[in-house]
């Protein structure tokens, strides 16, 4: 089926936007998103915007001049106005600096999520409102739909392999009411085929990969090493405390990591179970030691408020712990002893997995989905 953009992404078409700012990264998804909006709203009511987010070197992603050129030329082809907004200072303050600071403290922040939280669905949304737009559209593979009760739901994209609801799980009603995901109901193949049919120059562009502000030839180690002191540390057995060797930089090690950790005396692979930067210590153990019964979350957000809890004070959810991780059943409750929330919002939660799962690194996000409606995001939080 050919989607016609915003009007099929909602069951309440009559109240939907009349004027839309579409964020165009220069990739195929946002190009087709823009094309669909133009088809449904007309070129006069659609304006494209590319965000300049990173002033430093990068391969591609959202920042390079080549991507801006692609976005602008697609906009030209579609007959829409295109702007470039320079949000580099906000990006540095809200995404890059916390990414660097997190690693320096042994955490592994997800920069895409923070970019969505602070840039695309805050700064850009605010700018769009200021400029008189009713909504911001992006090329994310997710769906924002309005239920008969008038509440917005955030659903997984139709293409399971490309679903991006995880990186949008921090969105709430205020944002979803002003967001459109025109390609969320399509598969990537459909999007590419449509781009080919429309003759869009971005039709064959590869998907963006990795962290957009880190050049592949510099790598994470080089990027972080330019910005914070990296410290060598010791590798320690989780059970015995035995010293197992050296690690080059504790700041570059992530909880759950296998690569570079070698094998135990029994020949099984070792996993990182903890990173203690001040102590310059990386703790490793066998696979079963890398499992966690659950996690505590801060910076909690809800798509539509906290779900009602059962008599035991918990509600059931499916937890997804990485962008394309497998959702697993869990019980979620208000943390009885919440840490001070570093971002100042939301309540701390504790998530108990039904069966122990691979430990999630501090700083990573857990997205919660509704077990009765497994495509529907309930909320999210960051692992403490």
């Amino acid at each position: 089926m050919r989607s016609t953009g915003s009007r099929t992404s909602s069951s309440a078409c009559e109240t939907r936007p009349v004027r839309v700012l579409v964020a165009m990264s220069g990739g195929v998804d946002s190009s087709v998103a823009a094309a669909r909006l133009v088809a449904s709203l007309g070129a006069a009511d659609v304006v494209g915007a590319t965000l300049k987010l990173w002033g430093g070197d990068s391969d591609s992603g959202c920042c390079s001049v080549a991507d801006v050129d692609d976005a602008r030329r697609v906009a030209d082809q579609l007959g829409i106005v295109h702007h470039v907004f320079n949000f580099a200072a906000d990006f540095e303050a809200h995404v890059v600096d916390p990414y660097v600071a997190g690693h320096a403290e042994g955490r592994t922040p997800n920069p895409c999520i923070e970019c969505n939280r602070h840039l695309k669905f805050d700064r850009l949304l605010e700018r769009a409102t200021l400029l008189g737009f009713d909504a911001v559209a992006t090329g994310h593979h997710a769906r924002a739909v309005r239920d008969p009760d008038g509440r917005f739901r955030l659903l997984r994209g139709a293409d399971a392999d490309k679903d991006q609801s995880y990186v949008l799980a921090m969105l709430g009603q205020a944002e979803l009411a002003r967001c459109l995901f025109p390609v969320g109901a399509s598969t990537k193949d459909e999007v590419r085929a449509e781009a080919v049919r429309l003759g869009l120059r971005t039709a064959a562009k590869p998907d963006s990969q990795d962290v957009c502000f880190i050049r592949s030839d510099v790598g994470r180690a080089g990027f972080l090493g330019d910005r914070v002191a990296l410290h060598p540390g010791r590798l320690v057995d989780h059970a015995t405390g035995d010293d197992l060797g050296a690690v080059e930089a504790v700041e570059l090690v992530t909880v759950g990591q296998r690569r570079g950790m070698g094998h135990g005396t029994d020949g099984r692979r070792r996993f990182v179970t903890a990173v203690d930067v001040p102590a310059r210590r990386v703790t490793v153990g066998p696979p079963e030691a890398s499992l966690a019964a659950g996690h505590r979350l801060h910076t909690v957000s809800w798509v539509d408020g906290a779900p009602a809890v059962a008599a035991d004070g918990a509600f059931a959810a499916l937890a997804q712990c990485s962008a394309h991780g497998r959702p697993v059943p869990c019980a979620v409750r208000r943390d009885p002893d919440p840490d001070p929330d570093p971002d100042g919002g939301g309540h701390a939660l504790s998530v108990a997995f039904a069966t122990p799962q691979r430990r999630v690194a501090p700083g990573q996000t857990v997205a919660l989905y509704d077990p009765d409606r497994p495509d529907s995001v309930v909320g999210s939080g960051i692992v403490a």
Binding site: K52, V68, R72, V81, H83, F85, N86, G132
Partner: protein, 394 residues
Amino acid sequence: MTAVRPDAGRRAYFDHAATTPLRPEALEAMLPFLTAEFANPSGAHAESRRARMALDDARDRIAELLGAGPGDVVLTSGGTEADDLAVQGGWDAAWGGGPDGPGAVVCAAMEHHAVLEACRALARRTGAELRLVPSDADGLVDLGALADACDPGVRLVSVMTVNNELGTVQPLADVARVAGERCPSALLHTDAVQAVPWLDAAAVTAPADLVSVSAHKFGGPKGSGALVLRRGAAVRPRIGGGGQERGRRSGTPNVAGAVGTAAALAATVAERGSTVARVRALRDRLGDGLAGRLCGVTESGRREDRVAGILHLRLDGVESEALVVLLDEAGIAASAGAACSSGAVEPSHVLASLGLGPEAASSGVRFSLGGTSTDEDVDHALDRVPHVVERLRN
């Protein structure tokens, strides 16, 4: 709401400091060299001789109007190349391989990127120390700081004639005096790109050894500019090849560009007096009108220090990047500072050089008028701008 659509209805162009429309005199002068008189001026045949004569005539005229001899004018692809040739080529010709170590280069922090980047590249390449001189709150280079930056080790000083964002006319004679006292052997370069439409460029740039101009800022074609050499200043070429421009800038001469530049310059100089008076009145009416209709508006630089065409405002609580988008939709072409290669608005280094913080430095908008600006343009702006600003503040 009913938004005003971009490119619909009346539009007023307030971005002459970015570029100006081609003057009819320039177009007319250029057309033969874009059509029948296409020859390469370096050839040994009649067709070439005609092109050569046109090129030499154009150079004579440009030189005369800029107060130089024809042999002292290097035609370039524009202001940026002229700046690079002056800073890097001028340095190399005077100091290249000198025995006394790398020395220092001094330039105003508010210089155009063409000069700033040329100075940075020079510093990287030669090991010279780059010293940036801040501005005072009125957008004039700080002469005290300049004096502090200048010592006998300084080999090149570059201060623009007119700042492109604020329109402030820099005290070039004072700059030359300070440099002459503190670093007498240094070359003095001035980027006069924004001066030509408004000032007697030959007179105001007389203290400088090297002077850059760009044709499209005064009704000439894009892709054409010149570097003027005074008092025997020389440049080492930055582009080698066939040895055109007396070996100082290789490449087939842009005959049509040179002819258009000369025609536009002649017309600009001939009409300057009346144009300046008329545009200044328009600019002041716009500035006064906006000040009367809006609160929280600060006009940058004193009017008596500024060229006639530029009105730079700082608007409390307004992000200029959003403002120019809404002004565009309201039919007004204005500028929010320097645009980078991707088209994004860069935070203004000029406003930063005045000591303004990031918020104030991102609240600036420039309305730049030109010879084709009209009373109707100003009326249109006075009608639309207050509405747009109020909307952004609500």
